[in-house]
């Protein structure tokens, strides 16, 4: 986030620059099983964010010394395509993407039933094709759906969203412009059913009250996202079964 304050107004007449209200999500689109060669996959759009998540495994863990005799090891890679941002991003891992990979892995970790596949590794790849703030939350949402699509036993799905502060107001799901010119950005991930927060980060400053309000806002949004993730999975698989039945008839 850039500290330099600009004169730009982010809120005009109680509406945000893209016409949304303060507590409104960007349109979210989830597609399940988009990659043929991956064991599980998901394509997700959150506003102008476009991410694709692929899951492979459980497969053999390499290097062998990193194996865990009791549980599966989760490997996660968050990667931004060079064309995903306005100025070409230098390809390859950098400080930011290594951090996000770690955070995403730890956000997904609590739901995976790891003791089922000792000495194995589950590989999660999140590729950002187009970015407009909040790619890590989009990535976690997509990865969680892709894991379920891969048939990996999970206790729940993980939903994720960011809240932030622009022009002194706590708002949900920042866009790129709002993130760059706003005062704070706070991405979080949680298990919607149990209200268990699995990841929480903050950049910028929020007072205690703003933090509490933001968290409440984000939790509400996570419930909405969870319903969309659920609907996407059910839509994909209950329909295909119906199709098979029709074929048999």
């Amino acid at each position: 986030m850039k500290e330099g304050k600009t004169e730009r107004k982010l809120i005009i007449d109680g509406k945000r620059m893209d016409g949304r209200g303060f507590e409104e999500l960007r349109p979210l689109k989830i597609e399940v099983g988009v990659l043929k060669r991956a064991d599980g996959s998901c394509y997700l759009e959150l506003g102008d964010n476009k991410v694709i998540a692929a899951v492979y495994g459980p497969r053999e863990m390499h290097p062998r010394h990193a194996q865990d005799a009791k549980m599966v090891v989760i490997k996660c890679r968050y990667n931004m395509a060079p064309f995903s941002v306005d100025d070409r991003k230098r390809p390859g891992p950098d400080r930011r993407s290594v951090e996000i990979s770690k955070v995403s892995r730890e956000a997904l970790d609590p739901v995976i039933m790891k003791e089922y596949y000792p000495k194995m590794a589950i590989e999660v790849y999140v590729e950002v094709l187009q970015s407009d703030a909040g790619t890590r939350t989009a990535g976690i949402n997509a990865a969680s759906v892709a894991l379920a699509d891969a048939g990996i036993p999970m206790t729940d799905l993980v939903s994720s969203i960011a809240v932030g502060k622009i022009d002194g107001e706590v708002v949900l799901d920042l866009t790129g412009v709002e993130d760059n010119h706003g005062e704070a950005d706070m991405p979080m991930a949680m298990i919607a059913r149990t209200n268990t927060i699995t990841a929480l980060q903050m950049d910028g400053h929020l007072t205690k009250e703003e933090f509490k309000r933001g968290l409440k806002l984000a939790m509400g949004a996570c419930h909405q996202i969870y319903e969309l993730q659920r609907a996407a999975l059910i839509g994909r698989y209950s329909k295909s079964e119906e199709r098979e039945e029709r074929k048999r008839e």
């Binding site: 459980p58 039933m113 048939g151 036993p153 206790t155 799905l157 298990i191 659920r230 698989y237 209950s238």
Partner: protein, 187 residues
């Protein structure tokens, strides 16, 4: 088994442990049952609740499964096999250890004098799992055994000739525990 019309995704509440017995694709937390998989909910007559997976699940070789593998090492009494896939789930990697063994007593019905006469190094074999934990395999049945082999001398593919295998290039004849499906390319 009675099929419920309901469809579950991981984390869906299915019922309480007083109502149902935990089956596959189900976990218990604080006396409540939840799904661990995407799938249809099915309840048996004895009130065992299962989630029948609608997606492909990671394959783990179980007793009775037919597996395809390659001979990696031949010792005095055992042949070491690296298992490539489980029959019927060829598309997906095995989510467990892939090193299996065939003991000399499980190779075929008759007496085996030397293991070298039944398997060759790098042979592709089809075998049945007889012990899932230690991954012990058997090739006793007619359709099990070597499905592809190479000549020990010139590494050419061997062709079936009567009950033995012959090399087309160097005319060498080798013997194996051959599967009915040798050289057909069908698993």
């Amino acid at each position: 088994m009675e099929k419920d019309k309901r469809f579950a995704v991981p984390g869906d509440f299915l019922g309480t442990s007083e109502e149902f017995t935990q089956g596959k694709g189900v976990y218990i937390e604080e006396g409540n049952l939840y799904a661990t998989q995407i799938g249809e909910i099915s309840i048996s007559d004895k009130r065992v609740i299962n989630v029948l997976p609608a997606v492909e699940t990671p394959p783990i070789p179980e007793e009775g499964d037919v597996v395809i593998g390659r001979i990696e090492d031949i010792r005095d009494t055992v042949a070491v096999v690296s298992i490539a896939c489980v029959k019927g789930k060829e598309k997906r990697e095995i989510a467990a250890s892939t090193q299996g063994v065939i003991h000399i007593s499980n190779v075929k019905k008759g007496y085996v004098n030397e293991l070298q006469q039944e398997f060759g190094y790098l042979d592709v074999i089809k075998a049945k799992v007889i012990d899932a934990k230690a991954l012990r395999l058997s090739t006793e049945e007619r359709d099990l055994g070597v499905i592809k082999a190479i000549c020990m001398k010139c590494k050419c593919n061997l062709k079936m000739k009567g009950t033995a295998l012959a090399c087309e290039r160097c005319k060498r004849v080798e013997v194996r525990k051959i599967s009915e499906d040798y050289g057909k390319g069908v698993v």
